[in-house]
């Protein structure tokens, strides 16, 4: 009887420990957001005269 209880406790302990290990070492999920940026958004925040550019 004590042998059965010991095996049962061992299996439960092993299951919990493996769960902890899996959770502890599992790679985290990564979220990737991609946003296109048009050249019109990469401009100066103000207009400059044409003569100043050339």
């Amino acid at each position: 009887m004590s042998r059965r209880i010991r095996i049962l406790v061992g299996i439960v302990l092993l299951a919990v420990s493996i769960s902890l290990l899996v959770w502890g070492f599992a790679p985290t999920r990564r979220e990737i957001r991609t946003q296109p940026i048009a050249p019109s958004e990469l401009q100066l925040p103000y207009l400059i005269p044409l003569e100043a550019v050339s």
Binding site: R3, R6, T28, I32, Q43, P45
Partner: protein, 276 residues
């Protein structure tokens, strides 16, 4: 001047075409509104011209309405971005001649007690450089290349990024800067460490700073502000380090207790060693 040039029919046709063009979509500047509405107006304008079988076809003033002549001048004006919605003066706005892509990579869920990395990359799009063109269908001039001054030649461009998130340790804190060169990508990395379990909300900022090479004048423009939400979790109330430690110890103990013959095997090994 011909007498037929001032006939009421011609004036009627001119006024009809002008009214149609006035009903076009309202865009920020006058040039773009005219050029944008041109393709839509063509089907309407054509019947109006056919209604005047002989006289309208002979009239030079009626041809001035069609956009074949001034397309080039319209093209340079429509190349300007319509940001403000107001009228745009005939100026040329220097721009970065690249289509770029902003990529934000972060963990939406993180183990409490663990650190992780957040990455922000401003890279050149796979499409490469773009050639802005103006195109009016049905006209002679198509694909007119527009000269937009290269911003890299007139300004030093610096990409700046900041990751604001309350309650979480962020390294490096504050604003980080990197020079932005033509055709090159810039990446920013932050290391984050949550103080405890919970949901952390923050904002990822990206700015471009332009420094005029001639005058040294600086200007800044916010390119992107993305909301970021990161949840810090634990497992059965255990942080990541404690959970891993318990996992290792528990696995060993569970293996010893759970395997029925393991004790016999260990005893047998000890007996053999003593016998030797």
């Amino acid at each position: 001047m011909n007498h037929s040039a001032f006939s009421p029919r011609v004036f009627l046709a001119l006024s009809l075409v002008l009214m149609l063009s006035a009903c076009g979509p309202v865009v920020g500047n006058t040039f773009s509104s005219i050029s944008d509405s041109l393709p839509d107006e063509e089907p309407h304008a054509a019947p109006a011209a056919t209604e005047q079988p002989v006289e309208a076809a002979e009239e030079p003033p009626a041809e001035e309405i069609f956009p074949t002549q001034p397309v080039a001048s319209f093209a340079t004006a429509t190349a300007l971005p319509n940001t403000g919605g107001g009228s745009v003066s005939p100026t040329s706005q220097p721009a970065i001649p690249e289509r770029r892509r902003l990529t934000l990579e972060f963990p939406p869920q993180i183990r409490a007690g663990d650190s992780d990395v957040v990455r922000l990359t401003l890279e050149v799009d796979d499409l490469g450089n773009i050639t802005p063109t103006a195109e009016v269908a049905g006209n002679i001039v198509t694909g007119k290349i527009i000269e937009i001054p290269n911003l890299y030649e007139t300004h030093n461009v610096i990409a700046e990024a900041r990751f604001d998130i309350a309650g979480m340790q962020v390294s490096p804190p504050g604003l980080t800067s990197q020079p932005l060169a033509a055709g090159q990508s810039v990446s920013f990395f932050w290391s984050i460490l949550p103080d405890g379990v919970g949901i952390y909300r923050g904002t990822m900022w990206l700015y471009l700073r332009f420094i005029d090479r001639g005058s040294g004048e600086e200007s800044q423009r916010a390119i992107s502000a993305q909301p970021v939400e990161i949840e810090a979790v634990n497992f059965l109330g255990l942080s990541a380090d404690v959970a891993r430690s318990f996992g290792v110890v528990g696995s060993i103990a569970g293996t010893i207790l759970g395997f029925p013959f393991l004790e016999d095997i260990v005893k047998l090994l000890f007996r053999r060693r003593r016998g030797k």
